[in-house]
Symmetry: C2
Subunit: 332 residues, 2 copies
């Protein structure tokens, strides 16, 4: 029989379709070859490739001199505008706010045809440092309430350019979705005195069945109430509300864990499309006690349809414990 | 400049990407021919085609004798099981409920290669009557808290079978998403004494710019805070919490409006994939004053990616007023 499972942090239910579940290897993109090394490839038309840099859009690069490892540029077609004031218009049932905010692109590596799974942890570290640096910069703008750090990999995950890149959007509002997470976390803290994310993480460490990778500072696991196949969290062991509080040694460790997890996905499932999100506290909530930052990785292996739209409940055709066991067995 | 808009009923924000918005005709699926009439096509392998009926799965048909117009069958691979008790397990941070519920399929028409846009209002009426009849039946089961009525049309919307069909899922829980809508509607009612949906609908009638179709009993419009291009509501003018309170003449009228709206999409955009959801009150909330049932139509013309997953805010690359004007101009 299928099973409803609840995510304790969000109180969202999912349906784990036990009976009609597919085995983990059914999600392998068998038509794709496994590529574990790439030849340097330079696309003369790619705006992110070395030599083609659009310098008018550049915000920062690392290192500042010599050949860059990562670059940050303005999105050429930004969803939001950096200039302007946050003006709220309340006109009957119509409420609007001017589309002020940031929309930046992080070029993760000079190499056109690589991806985080093929980069080394040493190459991933400057990428994380760059996100950290941009996060602090956006955080200083009084108009910004929330920063969303995300990556779309592969067409099914919404990526339109091949060159490995992530995006950062700074918003003048705290999205409702995030407000509700805060409310749930506050309620749990009020009821128990604990952070719900710490509690969930400790439970995974004890249960072990959904673990994917462990390191000194991080725990990666498939979520008990995973809304989709192989839906994972990478969460710091130390209670911390914001990614922006990360320490140097934790960042080094995170580069290793992120590489390990993404490589398991890449090799095990043959480069599935995925979204990656760094879930970090709203700008003005970074001193609260009950939130906990983490990274979500959402492979795009199933499709949401009318039922998910109508109910908000996702049907997961993979059993989380089996997904985790599969990923643990992948040779990286 | 882009604009944040808020859906008053859900308080969700969307970003209307004014600057980088596409014109409505950019969403036309130009590679598809416009087919406005279909030859009867019978697929010998289709389990929904006349002659292939799987009678062991049949729940009801309309009419009961002679050639059927609509049929309801059990889903051969149900997400939930009809037999069993709703058992809740609370074990630390793990909360689960047995996967008890209903998962039925409504075959909308005997013809394999038709769709609601190509059917006549007279053919759509028995389809709506069938949904109504199944809704009342599921409502009687004390285990059921919420019924989700939905349709996936086209591959991008999650449809796996071509033969026109809808689905009905009966759930033993009220999804969080729906609970939050109830809370918001209750708050609006407490604050103002009005149903927020009635207020929004009256505003659309007054403003006119987002209207698509009007009839005696229904109003169809593109949402002010549409999360995606051409996202529409069809809402009854009369305040009513549940689809199951619909009257005979309203049902006849709804068949006409639904046909009109879907035909505008079909002809105007050349048969885009879409999801259709009947949003009706939870089983045990059908006597409240502040909810209002309606139909949502969500064409799948844009893709959600990491930003939407991380923020819950959708970026709509079409301007709702332009989408509505485009649909109004379509010759149906």
């Amino acid at each position: 029989m299928a099973e409803f499972r609840q995510n304790m942090a969000t109180k969202e239910w999912v349906i784990i379709a036990n009976e009609r579940a597919k085995r983990p290897d059914a999600f392998v993109e068998k038509h794709k070859p496994v590529i574990t090394e790439t030849q340097l490839f330079h696309d003369p038309k790619c705006p992110f490739c070395p030599g083609n840099e659009e310098l008018d859009l550049e915000i920062e690069r690392l290192p500042e001199d010599g050949a860059w490892q990562t670059r940050v540029v303005l999105n050429r077609y930004p969803a939001l505008s950096q200039r302007g004031e946050v003006l709220r218009t309340f006109d009957g049932v119509h409420r609007s706010i001017t589309g002020v905010g940031y929309h930046e692109v992080v070029v993760e590596n000079p190499r056109h045809n690589t991806t985080l799974a093929l980069m080394t942890p040493q190459e991933i570290k400057p990428y994380l440092q760059t996100i950290y640096s941009r996060g602090w910069d956006l955080q200083k703008d009084r108009r910004i309430e929330q920063v969303i750090y995300f990556k779309n990999h592969g067409e099914r995950a919404g990526a339109s350019l091949r060159h490995p890149h992530s995006q950062i959007i700074g918003l003048p509002v705290v999205p409702n979705d995030i407000r509700r997470r805060i409310e749930e976390a506050r309620r749990y803290f009020d009821d128990t005195g604990y952070c719900v994310y710490c509690t969930m993480m400790k439970d995974e460490l004890k249960n072990k069945v959904r673990l994917v990778t462990l390191s000194k500072h991080f725990v990666a696991f498939v979520l008990y109430a995973a809304p989709a196949p192989f839906h994972m969290w990478i969460i710091p062991r130390k209670h911390s509300v914001s990614f922006l509080y990360i320490q140097e040694d934790e960042l080094t460790d995170l580069a290793y864990v992120l590489h390990d997890v993404l490589r398991r996905l890449y090799v095990g499932l043959r480069d599935p499309a995925f979204n990656l999100i760094i879930r970090s506290a709203p700008v003005k909530e970074i001193s609260n006690d009950y939130l906990h930052w983490y990274i979500t990785i959402v492979p795009r292996l199933s499709r949401s349809a009318g039922f998910e739209l109508g109910s908000g409940i996702f049907i997961n055709p993979a059993i989380p414990e089996e997904s985790a066991a599969f990923l643990r067995r992948v040779k990286v």
